[in-house]
């Protein structure tokens, strides 16, 4: 991997994202939904934590992240610019890392205003630093896994809408899978619970840093990124 190359791709992707009005729409929707669901029970329950924010985050991420990733590969295939990119002296890993880090950067920018929630809580009551820090670390892992899944879905299609629907469906499935455990036979419960992104993410929000949860998110990210690397080997 050429360090310089993936940084240039990263910068271009970031610039391109913020050039488009859809970027601001996605970010506004994210902040509206999380803000509404965070502040509406906040004064009712009168609890100084960010549980309601983190509880909702996997669901909100399951459609906002695919909305960010959908154009990353699909648009390049459709416009033909992928041919230009692949014939420049950059490797598939450079392209992948540039795009992956750009989406993570965009998510970082999208999460920045949520510091207001944090400051509001800190101002009004005693903040459980451990749980909040765990929540944000978990958010990083969750975002990384969903970004990789979203990019993989974008890499398999040259239609952005298909990429979005596919990405949202996979992420949503990973989020709600542990809500379906009641309907499953006993021997499948453990497996489906382990497959659930929400299950692993909620451990982080409790302030628990378990290597199994880290391993889960890294595996999802790693497998998806490997899938993209394979698919883009000869994508016309």
């Amino acid at each position: 991997m050429n360090q310089q190359s993936y940084i240039h791709i990263f910068k271009r992707e970031i610039r391109s994202f913020f050039f488009s009005p859809s970027a601001y729409i996605v970010m506004a929707i994210f902040l509206l939904i999380t803000g509404w669901f965070f502040f509406s029970p906040f004064f009712l329950i009168a609890r100084a934590d960010m549980r309601s924010f983190f509880a909702l985050l996997p669901i909100v991420f399951s459609f906002t992240i695919p909305a960010i990733t959908m154009k990353q590969y699909a648009e390049e295939y459709k416009s033909g610019s992928f041919e230009i990119l692949r014939t420049l002296p950059v490797s598939r890993v450079d392209i992948l890392m540039g795009k992956f880090l750009a989406v993570m950067g965009i998510i970082g920018v999208m999460l920045l205003p949520t510091i207001i929630y944090l400051l509001s809580i800190a101002f009004l009551g005693d903040l459980d630093i451990g749980a909040v820090a765990g929540g944000y670390i978990g958010t990083l892992f969750l975002a990384s896994a969903f970004t990789a899944v979203g990019l993989l879905c974008s890499a398999v299609s040259e239609n952005q809408i298909v990429a979005f629907i596919l990405g949202a469906a996979v992420c949503f499935f990973l989020v709600i899978i542990d809500r379906m455990l009641l309907f499953l036979p006993g021997y499948l419960v453990g497996l489906f619970q382990y497959l659930s992104a929400s299950f692993h993410f909620h451990n982080f929000t409790k302030g628990i840093l378990d290597t199994r949860d880290v391993f889960y998110f890294l595996t999802i990210s790693g497998l998806s990124l490997y899938g993209i690397w394979m698919i883009t080997r000869e994508r016309v």
Binding site: S81, L88, E234
Partner: protein, 309 residues
């Protein structure tokens, strides 16, 4: 410089785009890859530039295998894909600056190269315009500037004038000709006049195979062993004309038809028969209204070599 050895590319088990293609391209050559749509030109160029992997065969450029050392090869090649698919949301300057960054140009070197390319490709007036609003001709020129950014030894241009108006075609061709004085250029096209105007050597491919290879003059000479002579006569009958033409050396059955002015005869000959044809007519006291020997154009050769049998 470029050695394409038994190159084969299957897209699936039934679709063979390139079929055992062997080709050697010398340094400084401007090579035109000609062929009808679907002949395998773009696939060949895509393998050459490392975008596609061959099913079989190798491409060696300056001693390096494209599959084994793709990054090194990509550094020495500038590629302009068909219809110049650039990033529409970017500004021309930003786009070229991005390409320069990836190509490893920085600081004053980068700025002076972009400046130089703005002159070579005549894009100075659109440097601060968004690519999406540029005309096709300008997009193509920005694409050329992109391909030439690192001053590569080899330029690969896939149908560089497709979709352009006649004025834009002339402009792009003159840029290519200018660059061709110093670089090795591989140019794919199905426009024959373009190959004739810009290339030192022409390779015609059909269904993934090479069907002709040589300079445009050489190809014409090779195919020119047969010419077509046509004439319009009066005071002669069909049978008389047929008998006379058949008496000439190495001539097959002539095409004879009545036209408004007289009788038109057209036949293929092995050698230049204009003088003996005229002498024969004079002897028979026929009236010759017109006589024309068709020079076989590259177009005819191309058509004959690539038409469906």
């Amino acid at each position: 410089m470029i050695n394409i050895d038994h190159l084969t590319k299957y897209y699936d088990s039934n679709t063979c785009a390139v079929d055992d293609l062997c080709l050697e391209i010398n340094k400084g050559e401007v090579l035109g890859l000609l062929g009808p749509n679907g002949a395998g030109k773009t696939t060949t160029l895509r393998i050459l530039t490392g975008f596609l992997e061959p099913t079989e065969g190798t491409v060696i450029i300056n001693g390096l295998d494209v599959q084994r050392d793709p990054l090194k090869i990509k550094k020495s090649i500038g590629y302009l894909p068909e219809s110049a698919p650039l990033y529409p949301e970017m500004f021309t300057y930003d786009y070229l600056s991005y390409i320069a960054d990836i190509r490893g140009l920085a600081g004053s070197k980068k700025n002076s190269r972009i400046d130089q390319l703005a002159d070579i490709c005549s894009i100075r007036e659109v440097m601060h315009k968004q690519i999406s609003i540029l005309s096709k001709g300008y997009k193509q020129r920005v694409g050329l500037a992109h391909a030439m950014m690192s001053d590569p030894e080899i330029l690969v241009l896939d149908e560089p004038t497709s979709g352009l108006d006649p004025n834009q075609i002339v402009e792009i061709r003159s840029i290519i000709k200018e660059i061709g004085k110093e670089k090795t250029i591989i140019l794919s096209t199905h426009i024959l006049s373009e190959a004739e105007a810009a290339c030192d050597r022409v390779v015609i491919i059909n269904k993934g195979k090479i069907v002709a290879d040589g300079s445009t003059d050489m190809l014409k000479k090779q195919a020119g062993s047969s010419r077509v002579l046509s004439a319009v006569l009066r005071k002669a009958t069909h049978d008389e004309i047929k008998e006379f033409v058949m008496s000439l050396p190495d001539t097959p059955n002539p095409e004879i038809q009545n036209i408004e002015d007289g009788i038109k005869v057209r036949f293929q000959t092995g050698e230049d028969l204009r003088a003996s044809f005229y002498e024969g007519i004079k002897k028979r006291d026929w009236v010759l209204l017109e006589m024309f020997q068709e020079a076989r154009s590259l177009e005819t050769i191309f058509h004959e070599l690539t038409r469906e049998k």
